[in-house]
Symmetry: D2
Subunit: 323 residues, 4 copies
């Protein structure tokens, strides 16, 4: 692209790849409609060694959040604990039977649903006055998302997973902030993986951003700052392959700073708002990348449903690659 | 059992089936050690139709909790919403680009980790002064569980799943509160399912308690009250099959009132504290039961890892049956 | 009133007593403008015995909330506790100096700001499209109240307090649900108290609703159900006295069921939206009432500022009567 | 003191000034016992101009906390808002009457009780195995403080307030981190104020730490870092005057780094654990200091009760100086 991209570029790409109405006027599932049962069955055949690899970053106070966008790291607190038993405090609130025999411990979490490894729901993105498939923005009010909620994926997010390890394909340790991944680079990683992408696939794009943070020993501005990621040049490639979802190891999936000076998060507009494509963020792809490099197989059975938080616009999850 | 069971009964069963030291003095994974990769690979072969069925109850304010044990239903709140866009409020806190183009919505959850569909971690149960494998209760302090945390299952909870549909095996709609399921009833359900249980299996015991609440249109005392569930008579059967985990559709897995007047939750002591067996609770097994009754197949590929909340003693999840 | 009151009644009363523009087009302080320094100084002269009486209900899980309107009782959790010290757990997270010497304990609260003893801020009430003094409703968005927040009272809520003990004036233990207090009853209580109400006063109206709940040993539907309280017949009296604030011992100050079938909370509309009058709810007036009955003095020095929660529409407080 | 202070110094001072048993073996009120009604009445006579000055820092996300000790800035979220009304979203959850007429807005706070302007309760400090007056540390368990809670001050914290403006007395803008205030400096500020301290007084020690942060435009390590504050050399002066409470404009009241290499927070041990003295922290004393410098009067009527959070070890408040 020789000219500076703008909101007009975004509008053109959005129009070209729009899925509004493709699965009906009431559709809220978007690209998850592409995952058909026979694909799930076929994907299960990819399991050979029986190895299970989590792509979740631990949810705790050592996470990457620094408060931006109202997002903070999960706050974990105990309701009842074991030290009380040793100290003798617990005799005052035991439940059931003899006080000295049994005590259950309990805990609580307070967390923004998009503070760690997460799926974005369709209702996460408002463009002008609407969300995906034309539902009005007013459906996501202070009472939550009555349309476009994460619940649309409760019974889904299972199928063929493919890792596209961009730094490995480009022979670097990690991509630098500002690196805009395009279709050629995605194809190069697919070629390296000897995988042909297709409809209903779950695609995981590694940038090495978490690798870099680990090497530095600190998150820095990982959550909200400059980052490598998908650029406008990746849109046609992503859209043409009709994939079910794409996730990355960065806070926002797309390259930052954004390529469009006049609008933020242009790929969120195109992917979520126009296409109904499901996006995953802050996936820790390092253990999976190591395993794929070791056995040379970049496709796997994927199971990564969100938690069914009613009326939520995002959800933490423990995405699992099974090889 | 002709005599009233007591804490002595519990001690005898605990001693008979103890797994302390079985996988080393430092083990915190308990029965998840039984799941070997070849079992996972074999289980993946059970996928035929490519159907995915969630066993999670929605996490929301319509859940079963009423405040007992400090447990309440999840509280979901918006950080930024779409109504603000329509109302014009959002121009004051948009991020990126032109205010009128893009807005992300965000939300937050406040929830006890054991308020809905959940796994118990080993550190959830303190018996006298210790938890599973002898770690002192003081390791679960106000700072969380430094031993026995849910993180021990982050990369696991995948394998062969088997539904034991007790009401169907007994030809009733649901079991009544106080119904203690024993080994014979478990075996009867396994026979009906034409499944032979074995090491490393994930077993789901349906009592129909959620079915009953749905029929009544209200939870009543579902969370914390009387309930059908596993009784002391089920312990040998469960333990002898060396299963990896057992989950049920009740708040506490075991029959309530407990059979032991002098101690609460005797099976939690035997299963979690002595055996290191992973327990799941408030699993909604109704959709799965319907599907199993329809196709006559009660075994399936199971993927249900917890979320890796660091130092947590339990975790919500979206357990998935793939058939 | 011979006819059934309606939204038209509300509009007439609102128009009659509207304070919009009275203190300028930008005013957000409403009737707190009536409290002048000389009144505060004069009120301080009421202190004779040096007795201090709190009107706050304890904030805890034994409070009256049952979940209606998204309000729940305060959730109190420990971050660090003392049992950890006895159990030896705390050596792993002490701060400063020798581990065995010092440990601070810490705790956290999660609470709706209007779940207990509380002030309503002007932004708490939206009538049609606006709040008090004409600010648009969009100023109270998911980011909080940029107009009409509780912060407008940070340096105020100090002055002459007067208790109007209606049940005592009517010689009953408490008023029954549905009892609409009118101006005559308020005047009768003022006469019993030998107090003449005037501009800038803080008026506390006791209905005995908390007394009744205490006698019953349970809250029942105290929070959100039927209740005694101010009726439409009290509006002229309240408005004509130009008081600074009025608080009561019920969840919503006004009588329930409301007298207007076609709109909820009519007095909230008149008092907060039209007059900018500050309302207090769930004030525990029983200890104060006992003291006033004992010494025969119903006026006192009042100090009850809200906590300055930025952009909040309400606040808990510990209101203090000093006699 | 020519030698380096140590835990032995702390023990000597604690023994010299211990109030254990002074007000009975069961006492949990500590130095609040010193405030007698006649003092409150006398203090009310200090009100002349009728001016009310809050010493509370706003509670919001711009506060000083950075996560240390598990303390974070208050998180404020809306349950129901006004933008929903404008957007038309609210018709789906209005309560009462005609949907278009009335809507209440509601909000929620999540906050560590010691994250902003705060009182410490006696149970906040554990020294070795006990808290003030010998109650065992196990009384502050994961269920909260069954002894030593903030509720002991619910009906108190009213009396004569005195501002000791140390930077003004020393003719500097603010004290630098590490500056240990001693008795001579306190006396110098009292002399400048022409006030003689006495039993039952509420003393506010200004260090200028908030002034400095304001000048810098950022909090930096205000919460938890080095700070000016009371030193061991202030203990005799504070103790000999038998004051009711002392509060400062720093996160921890005492000088940091602490003077005792072998124990943290030595004055917390002496003041809270041994003396039962109530400590206040993060009081914003700048507006009060300006007013006192203007009118030359450093004594005032003080009203600053905590909120009665049951079993809490601290509380936010809106402390009010009335002059």
């Amino acid at each position: 692209m020789s000219e500076t991209p703008s909101i007009d570029t975004v509008r053109r790409l959005a129009e070209r790849h729009s899925n509004w109405g493709r699965w009906g006027a009431d559709d809220e599932k978007g690209t998850l409609n592409l995952v058909r049962p026979e694909m799930v069955a076929a994907a299960s055949r990819l399991v050979e060694r029986g190895v299970t690899i989590s792509m979740a970053l631990p949810y705790d106070d050592a996470g990457p959040q620094t408060g931006g966008l109202g997002r903070f790291n999960p706050i974990h607190l105990m309701i009842r604990d074991g030290a009380d038993v040793i100290a003798g405090s617990s005799v005052r609130d035991f439940y059931g039977g003899d006080d000295r025999h049994f005590r259950g411990t309990d805990d609580i979490i307070i967390m923004p649903l998009q503070s760690g490894t997460q799926w974005d729901a369709p209702g996460h993105v408002i463009f002008e006055d609407t969300m995906y498939n034309g539902f009005g923005a007013e459906w996501v009010s202070s009472k939550g998302a009555l349309h476009g909620s994460i619940s649309n994926a409760t019974n889904s997010m299972v199928g063929r997973g493919v890792l596209l390890d961009i730094p490995r394909a480009l022979d670097v340790d990690w991509l630098e902030p500002g690196h805009a991944i395009d279709g050629d680079q995605l194809q190069k990683a697919a070629d390296m993986a000897s995988v042909e992408l297709g409809p209903g696939d779950f695609v995981f794009v590694r940038t090495g951003a978490i690798t870099k943070a680990r090497a530095a020993g600190e998150w820095g501005d990982y959550a909200g700052g400059s980052a490598p990621g998908l650029g406008l040049g990746s849109v046609d490639w992503i859209a043409d392959h009709d994939i079910a979802a794409v996730a990355a190891d960065t806070w926002g999936l797309e390259v930052r700073p954004n390529e469009t000076p006049d609008t933020g998060q242009p790929l969120h507009i195109i992917f979520i708002h126009a296409m109904g494509l499901w996006l995953g963020e802050i996936f820790d792809l390092d253990p999976l990348a190591t395993d794929c490099a070791d056995d040379g197989r970049y496709e796997f059975f994927f199971a990564g449903p969100p938690l069914p938080f009613t009326r939520a616009v995002g959800s933490p999850l423990n995405p699992m690659a099974i090889k």
